[in-house]
């Protein structure tokens, strides 16, 4: 029996804008086991991204319990959450979210700097990561000098920097043409094969089908919590 790495019980998230309260998540129960590859699908505004932000400790639930690797996230301080984002979770965004003024090398270096990895080790690690995503020859390129697929590969290298257990990807292929999109999905498959736990939010049924299981979300609730195939 593999360990449950993500464990959510009745998680709710409400946003207040003025007097109006909007409930993005209305009581999510969700478990993910270590090493799983999960696709998350659902219409726009269904709460997929909010779920992912909470899973990645970028946001905290309004109520409910969230345990990450058996530890309660609800009661953690801002600094502890920052540490989790730095070491335990890697984010990949639709809009890449690279630092525009920094080179591929520097972008991948950022999480290592925050983790206080020493200079030489940092350098070796960055080169290793960029080689792994096939960008060994683009270390000095800035985002403006790269294609969308290349930028997303830099983002994946950055997500892997501190060897997190979980990779959270929010529409990673949304801004890419289908060919580079498929290359990215192939990269996720490889990561999965190497033992990483992967959650991918996507609109694309083909990509979701790469997952061992598909979670379908609608109106802040889980509609189907597909079983392990």
């Amino acid at each position: 029996m593999t360990e449950t790495i993500i464990d959510m019980r009745n998680v709710r998230k409400a946003y207040k804008t003025g007097k109006v309260t909007f409930e993005a998540l209305k009581g999510i129960d969700c478990q993910v086991k270590r090493g799983e590859f999960v696709g998350v699908v659902g219409p726009s505004g269904s709460g997929k991204s909010t779920l992912m932000n909470i899973m990645g400790c970028l946001d905290v639930p309004t109520s409910g319990e969230y345990k990450l690797e058996g530890k309660m996230v609800n009661s953690m301080t801002a600094n502890q959450l920052a540490d989790i984002r730095n070491r335990k979770v890697g984010f990949v965004f639709q809009a890449f979210n690279l630092l525009p003024y920094a080179t591929a090398f520097e972008n991948v270096e950022v999480p290592l700097l925050f983790a206080k990895v020493s200079g030489r080790k940092r350098r070796e690690r960055v080169i290793e990561l960029l080689t792994r995503v096939g960008l060994a020859d683009k270390l000095g390129n800035r985002p403006t000098e790269m294609s969308g697929g290349e930028m997303q590969r830099v983002a994946i290298a950055r997500a892997l920097a501190n060897e997190p257990d979980i990779i959270l990807a929010d529409e990673p292929t949304g801004n890419l043409d289908s060919k580079s999109g498929m290359a990215i999905v192939k990269l996720f498959d490889e990561l999965h094969a190497s033992g990483k736990t992967i959650l991918i939010i996507t609109h694309d049924a083909n990509i979701a089908a790469h997952g061992e299981r598909v979670i379908r979300i609608k109106d802040g609730l889980i509609e189907t919590n597909g079983d392990l195939r």
């Binding site: 920052a82 984002r85 984010f91 809009a95 003024y101 950022v110």
Partner: protein, 418 residues
């Protein structure tokens, strides 16, 4: 965050808001210059005034006789106290705290003549130690009154530089004969020019001094006009004052508690007062300068707010990959300090070059007179330190609030897909 990255950020910001940052740097440099130059002006003024203050004498006090206001030992009040020629030695023998002491005779409106030049002048009868106590320092080629002049009651005269010029013009006065009250005197020296801010018996530039023994022999004054003394340690002034009342009270039979019997002008303590006034002036100048710099500080805060607004996404990205609030805070604080100190360094360099340049500037005689009085702006180590401290404080304050805003950016909001 490593430094190269910090520097890259700064440069990128600079490119993006070139005009705004340039203007702020100008404002910072200008503010720094205004503080620096005002303080430098204050420092120059202080140094010059202190120098001029010393024109009167070297840590001295001057004492005159007064009047009794209390009856004492059967003697009535209203009795004048006057000093006799032997009193300086009498006092020196009884008050060991005194290093040097001298009696002084003084007389106004005495006819002084050289050839057909006739002037009415103030003359004094003094001791050789006036050279040190009252800065009666002779110009090259002449000398001050000495002990032998005193013993032999020689008819020799030591002239103030202005009097000398009025009598002799371009001529060399040393060794020339003049008539003082129709008695022939030989000029032995002319006082070196000095800046004198205060006086008690006319300005030294116009005096004619002779040995006090000669003065007494010619004019027959029974009383000294005043006594000048100098302590070993200026801190002993109050003790000496107290002892003077006791010693002279015993001699002239007055109550030592009767403080109208002696009038003592302690130049040292009035110098302390002067120092306090100068500190007040410098603080005033510093505050005016700081207010100018404050405006530049508002500029820095403004730039930081704009820059943070444009960089919320960047802040969000950093937070998403594990940056703590403290780190974001220090990043923006460092940036504010970098801008502040860059502007400050420009201002300090310009101020320093200006003051150094002014020191080397050749001056017209009229301007030189002003400088003799006001001094030349001087940048001291302390001024540099004060300005750097003010800049640091201001950089911190103008950076703190924008940086706090940056640290409170919500990463979810800032990363929401555009």
């Amino acid at each position: 965050m490593n430094l190269t990255m910090m520097y890259n950020l700064f440069i990128r910001d600079f490119r993006k808001q070139k005009k705004r940052i340039t203007l702020t740097l100008v404002a910072l440099a200008w503010g720094t210059m205004s503080i620096m130059l005002l303080l430098a002006f204050g420092e120059g003024l202080h140094r010059q005034m202190a120098l001029n203050q010393r024109g009167l004498g070297n840590n001295i006090a001057v004492m005159w006789g007064g009047q009794t206001t209390k009856a004492f030992k059967g003697l009535g009040k209203g009795r004048p106290i006057r000093f006799q020629a032997e009193d300086p030695e009498y006092i020196a023998a009884r008050i060991p705290e005194i290093k040097q002491i001298a009696g002084e005779y003084s007389r106004w409106g005495v006819k002084v003549q050289y050839k057909d030049q006739i002037v009415n002048e103030h003359i004094t009868g003094i001791y050789p130690n006036f050279e040190d106590m009252r800065f009666h320092i002779p110009q090259m080629g002449g000398r001050m009154i000495n002990q032998i002049d005193m013993e032999h009651r020689r008819r020799v005269a030591f002239l103030g530089w202005d009097l000398s010029e009025r009598l002799f013009g371009e001529e060399d006065p040393i060794g020339k004969q003049i008539l003082v009250n129709s008695t022939p005197f030989i000029v032995i020296g002319v006082m070196a020019e000095k800046m004198q801010m205060n006086s008690y018996e006319g300005m030294d530039e116009n005096l004619l001094a002779m040995p006090s023994t000669t003065f007494k022999a010619i004019f027959g004054d029974p009383w000294l006009d005043d006594i000048v003394y100098q302590p070993h340690d200026p801190k002993d002034m109050p003790i000496i004052e107290k002892k003077l009342y006791e010693v002279l009270g015993a001699k002239y039979k007055f109550d030592p508690a009767d403080d109208r019997t002696l009038q003592i002008w302690d130049v040292v303590s009035s110098q302390e007062e002067f120092t306090n006034i100068m500190i007040g002036i410098k603080m005033f100048l510093g505050i005016i300068g700081s207010l100018t710099l404050l405006i530049a500080g508002v500029g820095v805060a403004n730039i930081m707010y704009v820059s943070i607004k444009e960089r919320t996404r960047e802040i969000g990205i950093k937070m998403a990959v594990g940056a703590k609030k403290k780190l974001i805070l220090s990043q923006f604080l460092t940036e504010a300090l970098m801008i502040t100190f860059t502007g400050g360094a420009i201002g300090m360099t310009i101020s320093y070059l200006l003051t150094e340049g002014f020191k080397r500037l050749p001056l017209s005689p009229d301007a030189a007179d002003v400088v003799d009085f006001m001094g030349r702006p001087t940048v001291s180590f302390e001024i540099g330190f004060v300005v750097i401290a003010i800049l640091g404080l201001m950089g911190l304050f103008s950076g703190l609030f924008p940086a706090m805003r940056a640290a409170s950016v919500n990463p979810v909001e800032s990363l929401r897909y555009e």
